[in-house]
Amino acid sequence: MQHIALLAFDKKKCEPFFNRLTDLFYEHHHSDSQNPDEYERLLYMVKRPYDDRMLDMIDDWTGLGKREWKEETTREVKLALYAIKYPDTLLIDSFTEKARNNLTRLSSYLHFTHHTYAIWDEDTRKGLSKLGIDIPHTEVADPFIYGAYVSAIELLKDVAPFTCFLEHDVPRQRLFQAALASYGREN
C-alpha cells in the first residue's frame, strides 16, 4: 500500500522544495543544534567492529542522552547493524521493546553505520507531509513506518534534478533529510 502511495505522489509539488534544497540543507545541517563538525567526525569514526563507545558518540550527537539498555539489548542491536541490508527495515521487528522505544536513536545508529538509512526526525516527517507524502507520527521503531520514511527519501533522491546534489561529504540521505527538516519547520 505504501508503495502505491509513493507512486502516486505529486512531483510538481516538490518543485519549490527542490529549488531551495541546498539552502534548506545548510539551514538545518549547519545549525548549532546539529553540530556539523561532530556529524562529519562520526562519519569517519563509526566503523567496524562496532563498539559501545561508538554508540555513545552517536547518543551524544543526537542529544538524546545515553541509552539505558541492558548489555544484551546493546549486543542485539550491534548484531543487527551488521546484518541489516539497505533498504530493509523489517529486521527492526525482531528487536526487543527496549531497543525499539526510540526511533530517532535507532535510525541514527543505522545512519552512521550505513550512511544510507535516514535519521528519523519529526520535522523531516512534516516536510514529507508538505510534499504530499504522509508518514504517520511515531516515536517507537515501527519497521513499516520507518520503511516508508526511508523509501520516500530514496524516491525524492531519484526524482530530484541535478541541481540538488552537493559535492560534499554528506551522504545524500542526510542532504535530503536535513533539507526536509528545515522545510517541515517552515509555516
Binding site: C14, Y44, K47, H115, D158, P161, E167
Partner: protein
C-alpha cells in the same frame, strides 16, 4: 522536475558499437567483472532539457530533436564535435585511472574510484549512443573514434586527458579540478538547442557530483591526516589548476561564440543569469566562475590543515598557462610578472611544480605511511 527515461532498445548502429566497447575494455585492462551488477543505462531527462531554444539566434524556436531538424550542416558539425569531445574525455579518464585500483589506500577509495570509472564509462556510452542514434554514418564514425584514441598514446583530444595519473594524489587532484571542469561543460550543454544532448546532461550531472565530492573529500582527508606536508601538496595544486583553467579553451573564442549563436552550448549560469551574454568572451566568463569556485573550495580544504602548516591556495590564473593570453608568458604563482630570463623562470618552475625528487618522496616515503584519513566502505 527530473523524470528520467532509461532506453531499453538500442539501434543496430549502437549495438555494433557496444561490441567495440567490450574490446576497448579488454585492451585498456579494465576487467568487466569489476562492474558487478552495474549497468550502462542510457538515461534521458527530457523534462529539464526544455522545449524551446533558450539563447542565441534561434531563441524561442522548438529545440531540435532529430538531425534533420537542425537547420545547417555547420551546426550539425558543431554539435557532433561537442558530443565527441565530451565522450572522448569520459573514456580517456578511465584509461588514465584504472591502473590505480591496485594501489588504493583503502577499500573505500578503491570502490569510490571504481564507481567513478563505471559512471565515466556510462557517460561515454551515452555520448556514443547519441552519436550513433542521431547522426547516421557521420555519428557512427565519430563514436568509433572515441574508442580508437587513447590516453596512453597521447591521442585524446584534450591535453589534460593525456597526462599520466601516476598516483592517488594525482587522482584526487584530477577528480577535484578536472572533473569540476567537466561539471561546467556538462552544465553548459544542459541548455543545448539539441534536445537529446541537453536531456543527457541531467543524469550525467547527478553522477558527476559524486566524482567531484570524491576529489574534494580526498584532498581534505589528506590535509587532515597531515602526513604529506602542505608545501608539497601546494606543488600538485599548482600543477593541476593551470591545466584545469586551460580546458575552458582560448580567450575571445569564435567557436564558443558560434556555439552560443547556434544555441548549442550556453553559459554555465545560463538559466540563472539576468545579464546578457558577452558573446566575445564566453570562455573567459565560465573560466572565471570556475576559478572563483576553486578558491572557495580550497579555503574549505585548507581549513583542516594541522597547526603550523602553511595555508593552501589557488595559484594565479596567469601561472603556467598553455592556452589564452597568458600562454607562454612567465608569471609567478601569485600572478606577478617574473623578473628574470627564461632559464631563471625554468628554475623557478622547478621550485613550485612537482619534481622527480618530489614524486619519489611522495610515493616512496609519505605514501608508505598512513597518509590519508581512513574511511570505511559502508556495505549496504
Amino acid at each position: 522536475m527530473a523524470d528520467t527515461e532509461i532506453v531499453e532498445k538500442y539501434t543496430p548502429n549502437f549495438e555494433a558499437w557496444v561490441q567495440d566497447f567490450t574490446e576497448w575494455q579488454t585492451r585498456i585492462g579494465f576487467d568487466p567483472s569489476w562492474l558487478g551488477d552495474y549497468r550502462f543505462d542510457i538515461k534521458f531527462d527530457w523534462d529539464t532539457a526544455g522545449e524551446k531554444i533558450e539563447f542565441g539566434d534561434f531563441e524561442g524556436m522548438p529545440k531540435w530533436e532529430r538531425r534533420m531538424q537542425i537547420p545547417q550542416q555547420n551546426i550539425r558539425d558543431a554539435i557532433i564535435s561537442m558530443i565527441s569531445v565530451q565522450g572522448d574525455t569520459e573514456f580517456a579518464s578511465v584509461e588514465q585511472q584504472n591502473h590505480l585500483l591496485a594501489t588504493a589506500p583503502t577499500e573505500y577509495d578503491m570502490k569510490s574510484a571504481l564507481r567513478i570509472m563505471c559512471e565515466e564509462q556510462r557517460h561515454g556510452w551515452q555520448m556514443a549512443y547519441v552519436l550513433c542514434t542521431y547522426f547516421g554514418e557521420q555519428g557512427v564514425r565519430e563514436a568509433s573514434k572515441l574508442l580508437e584514441r587513447n590516453a596512453q598514446d597521447g591521442t585524446r583530444i584534450l591535453g589534460s586527458f593525456n597526462a599520466p595519473i601516476d598516483h592517488w594524489l594525482d587522482f584526487f587532484c584530477f577528480t577535484h579540478f578536472i572533473d569540476r571542469d567537466g561539471k561546467y561543460q556538462l552544465k553548459m550543454l544542459s541548455t543545448s538547442s539539441f534536445k537529446p544532448l541537453a536531456a543527457s546532461m541531467g543524469p550525467m550531472l547527478k553522477e558527476e557530483s559524486f566524482h567531484l565530492g570524491t576529489g574534494a573529500n580526498g584532498l581534505r582527508r589528506i590535509v587532515k591526516q597531515g602526513v604529506i606536508p602542505c608545501e608539497l601538496l601546494q606543488k600538485y595544486l599548482n600543477k593541476w589548476i593551470s591545466t584545469g583553467l586551460d580546458l575552458f579553451g582560448t580567450d575571445d573564442s569564435t567557436s564558443a561564440q558560434w556555439a552560443y549563436v547556434y544555441g548549442v552550448k550556453g553559459r554555465y549560469d545560463e538559466r540563472e543569469s539576468d545579464i546578457k551574454a558577452d558573446r566575445a568572451h564566453l570562455n573567459e566568463a565560465s573560466r572565471e566562475l570556475y576559478f572563483q569556485e576553486l578558491r572557495e573550495e580550497m579555503r574549505r580544504i585548507s581549513s583542516v590543515r594541522k597547526e603550523g602548516e602553511p595555508e593552501l591556495f589557488i595559484p594565479s590564473d596567469k601561472f603556467n598557462r598553455g592556452i589564452g593570453m597568458y600562454s607562454g608568458k612567465n608569471y609567478t604563482i601569485t600572478g606577478e610578472k617574473f623578473d628574470g630570463n627564461n632559464q631563471e623562470y625554468q628554475d623557478y618552475l622547478i621550485s613550485v611544480l612537482p619534481t622527480d625528487e618530489d614524486e619519489d618522496k611522495l610515493m616512496n616515503d609519505y605514501m608508505k605511511k598512513e597518509w590519508i584519513q581512513y574511511r570505511e566502505w559502508k556495505t549496504k
